[in-house]
Symmetry: C2
Amino acid sequence: MSPSYQPIAFEDKLSRFTDQWAPRVIAEMNDNQFKLVKIEGEFVWHTHHDTDEAFIVLAGEMAIEFRDGQVTLKSGEMFVVPKGVEHRPYAALVCSVLVVEPRGVVNTGDVGGAMTADNDMWV
Amino acid sequence: MSPSYQPIAFEDKLSRFTDQWAPRVIAEMNDNQFKLVKIEGEFVWHTHHDTDEAFIVLAGEMAIEFRDGQVTLKSGEMFVVPKGVEHRPYAALVCSVLVVEPRGVVNTGDVGGAMTADNDMWV
């Protein structure tokens, strides 16, 4: 019997959860993970000291604030936060984002706290 | 003066080139690259022995053929070809794809030939 190769559909995966700031892994490429996350409101300032972090907006609009500026991302736009750069994601309205980063990265980076999500949750 | 943080917009980047099967780097995350590529028709069978390769379809539809099956990807869908698995991308009509893979990966993998594109072309 041949294996069944199935596409990973963002809309389908996004329909399976509603909680915000709680990334869900949908795929891995080598040691990296592709994670869907729904965000709304203001996250915490944090830093990933050991890795870059890529944000791809799938629906809605978000900002990534830095201590000296910010970038606004709409659907079909991406940005890579360089490692070591303090940042704070923000979305006025709910926004769906594909995050790409190494396996094991915690969403709140170096600061922890109440918004820290479980790691390696798949959907 | 504050730095200027600019989003990377897929549509804008795609508008800057027309050649097919010629990936353009738009961003890097650690040692990985995000590449836009326009494809149409049939590529060559090839294998990447040392790395997985992620395909995210941005517009249009493509198939990835395997020796024992295939997967069809539409806009908003992705698939990761595991390392060592022989595959052949195909698109009946022009299709825009975001490929994520480590820096230095050659599009034709182990086989080379006329469809081998220059590596590390940025747009």
